[in-house]
Symmetry: C2
Subunit: 392 residues, 2 copies
């Protein structure tokens, strides 16, 4: 058993190979959250009115340093999907505009694009990125091939959810900018999995979860915007910040830091989560990321052997999450809000494995995805590959 | 000291007279929240995919019964302001439409009306409800006097925030419906403070917090809509529910129950909070509400004497929250996102009182507001009135 299992609260009876879905929060970080909540409940008004802003600023400073961005460009949101919706709702779209997504994109965000685009009469177009991807440039070419003179914004995953590959977002962002197209990077899985330098990346907008690979409690995510986008970026929940006369803080913070009463303890625990993860291996985050990457590459090799399928991308395009497609051309089960629709998922659960088993309409194939986090070990993937060979 | 102090975690050094701002959560309810969070962290995927929906449904059933509405018409949102934004964002407004608010309305919600209305070219109009209000019908008349043929929706507080009075929402909703105007009742303070029968009330939309007078953890609020409004009501965060083919649950639930990953433990603790509050006095919630009402009426009499001001409304229009205006015509300090702008607030804090002290632009007067909850006792208001007489 991994010596790091004791840091988390995960059920020891389950081979938990889906850190990518909702993360998992270490015990020490949950204790930090408890401390914040206790402080809040001791004097809720003093906390919310006097103590929350400085506490948010400390959390923002720590997170901003971690993802390589100026704090003034970073706000907290509930989750990455909320961040993507926020950007789309704020965008002055016009009838006939196009929002570009890829066929590796996240269903929820594609829905958001159709909804907010549809309100303005804008259309959603889909860039097809055929698999297997041989090299990162395949993705750049596929995205750019779908850009038209009507393309207003492109939503591109940093790490794709169904197919588990790291897209070359630096090249994509630069090429989009050359063409006058805004970039919205959905980094739902990226912070903690990949080193980030968001100011250098220069995406117009970057939305990301911290509850996944930074292991914060649920309810902690970020939205980053280039300075020239701040003026038009508005939260989905308009509150007191909209007409404040305060000038002591950036307007972006005044609006996003108060979206009605929320429970802020997950956000405020982010610095502790970063500190904890950085301290688990002698080499800090780089060592953690290398460990998880090597482990998931190992896992993918086992799974590809087990199901007799080809890799969707080279190992150099993996982070700590990898998908394999099953060879059968399964009947599309109809996309559901949860993977319940995929009987394979239920069968894996029954055998005490937790891994993503879903249907990827673009293939169209069933997809099985596993993740690697410090609490995992090779034997878990060996057991899983054996089960998958039997079931799939 | 009130025998109920031990149920809460409030700082014993502070006279906490502002339950209305953010509520306060009893220790037993926080323990329930801990249990939900522990269950989530033991197997996050199983919890989110297999256990969350039935748990939400149990919470929804308990809350729906408490507020007197069919569960199918109730969804959870983060807070009442988010609920108001949700309704406004969903509404098919047209250029020239009018959104009616009152001058007792909540600044954040007025901002939301201006923002979402402004996107559609709709205008916000303000019904003036002059104080003192002599009888509930004064409010009905004032609201109806501001309705025009362009009025599409009226946002009316059930319990007003700056002025702390209970508006006659049943009469207002009925009169608006006769005139073809939609009603959005902002019940931020209502559940737990007032008996609610929302199906009988028949408002088109009703948004309310449970973290205030139902004493849940922060992050628990509801949005209720009449059945004929369900089809057009969409969450601010569009996610998987938008294109689900599931038919086993109402579409409203499928969209609102999954708005990306949230920490649901506050919502799931609502049944425990209701059960706890119902059990604190032999007469249950009616006894609790009567106790708090009597206590706040007592407090208001003391405060009116202390500042030499007239009541804003009869005691029959109070719940468990009451405001008094100060007699000075203070310079408008400029509305801020927090009451920091009001020096009186800081002075009260320094003397270890926690009460709302703000500026009500409609008067224009400074306003001091106190609340009464079971953990309060008469001596606290006596001390507060003495301090206020000295300071104000």
């Amino acid at each position: 058993m991994s010596p790091f299992v004791a840091q988390w609260q995960l059920d020891p009876e389950v081979d938990f190979l889906n850190h990518g879905a909702f993360g998992a929060c270490p015990t020490a970080v949950l204790a930090e959250q408890d401390a914040w909540r206790a402080r809040l409940e001791r004097e809720p008004v003093r906390f919310m009115l006097n103590e929350l802003e400085p506490a948010l600023d400390r959390a923002r400073a720590a997170v901003a340093a971690f993802v390589g961005v100026e704090p003034r460009s970073l706000v907290f949101v509930g989750n990455a999907t909320a961040g993507v919706n926020t950007v789309l709702a704020s965008l002055p779209l016009r009838a006939g505009d196009e929002i570009l997504v890829t066929d590796h994109g996240y269903n929820a965000c594609n829905n958001a694009a159709r909804y907010w685009g549809g309100r303005a009469g804008a259309n959603v177009t889909v860039a097809e990125v055929p698999v297997p991807v041989r090299e990162p440039n395949d993705v750049v070419r596929a995205v750019l091939a779908a850009v038209t003179e009507r393309t207003r914004i492109a939503i591109v995953d940093h790490v794709t959810s169904p197919t588990g590959m790291v897209f070359p977002v630096a090249e994509i962002v630069a090429a989009l900018r050359e063409r006058g197209v805004l970039s919205l990077i959905d980094g739902a899985h990226a912070p903690g999995m990949l080193p980030l330098e968001l100011d250098a990346l220069g995406a117009d907008y970057y939305a990301a979860n911290l509850h996944k690979w930074c292991c914060t409690p649920k309810g902690c995510a970020i939205l980053v915007a280039r300075p020239e986008r701040h003026a038009t970026l508005r939260p989905l929940v308009i509150s007191h910040g909209a007409n404040t006369r305060r000038t002591d803080r950036p307007k972006l913070w005044l609006e996003f830091d108060w979206v009605g009463t929320i429970e802020p303890s997950a956000i405020l625990s982010a610095p502790r989560a970063l500190e904890l993860l950085a301290g688990l291996l002698p080499g800090g985050f780089p060592a953690l990321q290398a460990h998880n990457h090597e482990l998931v590459c190992y896992a993918r090799r086992l799974l590809l052997d087990a199901v007799g399928s080809e890799p969707l991308c080279p190992e150099s395009m993996l982070g700590s999450l990898a998908s394999v497609t099953l060879r059968d051309a399964a009947q599309a089960p109809g996309f559901e809000a949860s993977p319940f629709c995929e009987p394979l998922y239920a069968e894996l659960c029954a055998r005490r494995f937790q891994a993503l088993a879903t249907f990827w309409p673009a293939a169209p194939r069933r997809v099985v995805r596993v993740t690697a986090q410090l609490y995992n070990e090779r034997a878990q993937y060996q057991r899983f590959a054996a089960a998958l060979a039997e079931l799939a």
